[in-house]
């Protein structure tokens, strides 16, 4: 298989690259000009510099490629300009899809988000692949952006597209500290203010496994949800605080308060301040989170999910090596339910 990974230097990209290497596949690693490629350099992998705004360059990079893994969907740093974020995200994805079609790529696997997953249909306890918002849900920039991009990917013709919607990914190589920001803050005893809601957690290595299996499966699902555990955030943070010897977390804040706080943080960041301690998309994902039924991935791809306790242990070990969490590793975590 001649594989191209867009976003190879990122969190999911690096986990996928490692999974492909285990299989004896050396992917071509696409990266932006300005990004951290130290981990890719250490693996001595072929790299190509390409911006998703350049369709011609994408077409050149995809020549002779069988499978494109698109792990580089637009993720705006801030949620303040919804229209600009959507315009960028959709335009870049159009470039990727049309280049893949023109280059006769056999399959394109696009990493979307559970932000596109609607509440379960009446009579069901969890949402599955049939539960998709019929229109952008209007919660915030991130949800609307991901919906628009997924809609484009699902309706595109001329190249076989599979859409993967992972929950909140945890695991090694989250160097930009996305999903794991609350976890790290809790481990450091910072007790970050946040709302409560359902979070869908999945090990980043499981996501990489699913991406690889989709590439290998003769008829993969058109859209598949990936989730290893559905949990309420507040008890999870309480369990983590206990594990790290931190005081019990403060009670969750209300959704409206969390949105106000996140917006104020983002305004500060837009003026050159530090990264928001609580970002708007994380608030939206938490307060609008729904339980996810990931049995389609189990049935069609043979997926089995890493227990959350093992995921948290692996993350803890990696985060300490990266000095994101100070001190020595903890004893293995007991299973969480």
């Amino acid at each position: 298989v001649r594989a191209l990974v867009l976003g190879a230097a990122g969190f999911l990209g690096l986990n996928l690259v490692d999974r492909l290497l285990l299989e004896g596949i050396t992917p071509l690693c696409a990266r932006r000009r300005r990004t951290n490629v130290l981990a890719l350099r250490a693996r001595r992998l072929p790299m190509v510099e390409v911006e998703l705004s350049d369709r011609g360059a994408l077409l050149g990079v995809m020549a002779g490629i069988d499978v494109v893994f698109h792990c580089a969907g637009h993720y705006p740093r801030l949620s303040l300009d919804r229209d600009a974020a959507i315009a960028t995200g959709v335009r870049e994805l159009e470039h990727v899809l049309s280049a893949a079609r023109a280059a006769a790529v056999r399959r394109l696997i696009y990493v979307s988000s559970t932000a596109t997953v609607a509440p379960p249909r009446p009579g069901r306890r969890a949402s599955d692949e049939a539960d998709r918002f019929p229109a952008p849900p209007g919660f915030g920039t991130y949800h609307d952006l991901k919906w628009r991009m997924e809609e484009l990917a699902l309706s595109f013709h001329g190249v076989e597209v599979s859409v993967v919607c992972p929950g909140a990914c945890l695991g090694p190589w989250d160097l930009k500290v996305g999903t794991s920001a609350l976890l790290i803050a809790t481990a450091r005893g910072l007790d970050p203010p946040c709302p409560d809601g359902i979070v869908n957690l999945v090990d980043a290595r499981d996501v990489a496994e699913a991406l690889f299996r989709i590439a290998e499966t003769p008829r993969p699902p058109k859209r598949v949800l990936l989730c290893g555990a559905n949990l309420s955030l507040a008890p999870l943070l309480a369990a983590l605080a206990h594990r790290y010897g931190a005081p019990p977390p403060r009670p969750p804040i209300l959704a409206a308060e969390a949105i106000r706080l996140a917006e104020a943080e983002e305004e500060r960041a837009a003026l050159g301040g530090p990264r928001p301690a609580l970002s708007r998309e994380i608030v939206d994902l938490i307060v609008h989170g729904v339980p996810i039924d990931a049995r389609l991935a189990e049935a069609t791809l043979g997926m089995r999910w890493t227990p959350l306790s093992q995921t948290l242990d692996a993350f803890d070990d990696w985060a300490r090596r990266m000095h994101l969490i100070p001190g020595a590793s903890l004893e293995p975590m007991e299973a969480l339910s």
């Binding site: 300005r34 990004t35 951290n36 490629v37 130290l38 981990a39 350099r41 250490a42 160097l175 930009k176 500290v177 050159g272 530090p274 990264r275 090596r321 990266m322 000095h323």
Partner: protein, 83 residues
């Protein structure tokens, strides 16, 4: 071994990543506190230098570098080892 091109490249790259001018950057500056580089930008700095000078810099090593002087030192070590 002439370290000056590396030192100049550090300051040019920091200027590219921030709103500072290369001439304003001193070796004793701290990447985060004095120059406003967060952890992501600091890693980008080291990555860009590693590519430009074809240096091996491990991630675990990179996360411990916090000053311009430390960036210069790792460059000095790597370039010296190559000569």
């Amino acid at each position: 071994m002439n370290i000056e091109p590396f030192e100049r490249a550090i300051k040019e790259t920091i200027a590219e990543l921030t709103t500072l001018r290369a001439t304003e950057i001193r070796n004793e500056d701290r990447l985060r506190e004095d120059l406003g580089l967060d952890s992501v930008s600091s890693m980008e700095l080291l990555s860009m230098l590693a590519e430009r000078f074809d240096l091996e810099i491990g991630i675990e090593e990179a996360v411990q570098i916090t000053t311009v002087g430390a960036v210069l030192e790792i460059g000095r070590q790597r370039l010296h080892a190559r000569t």
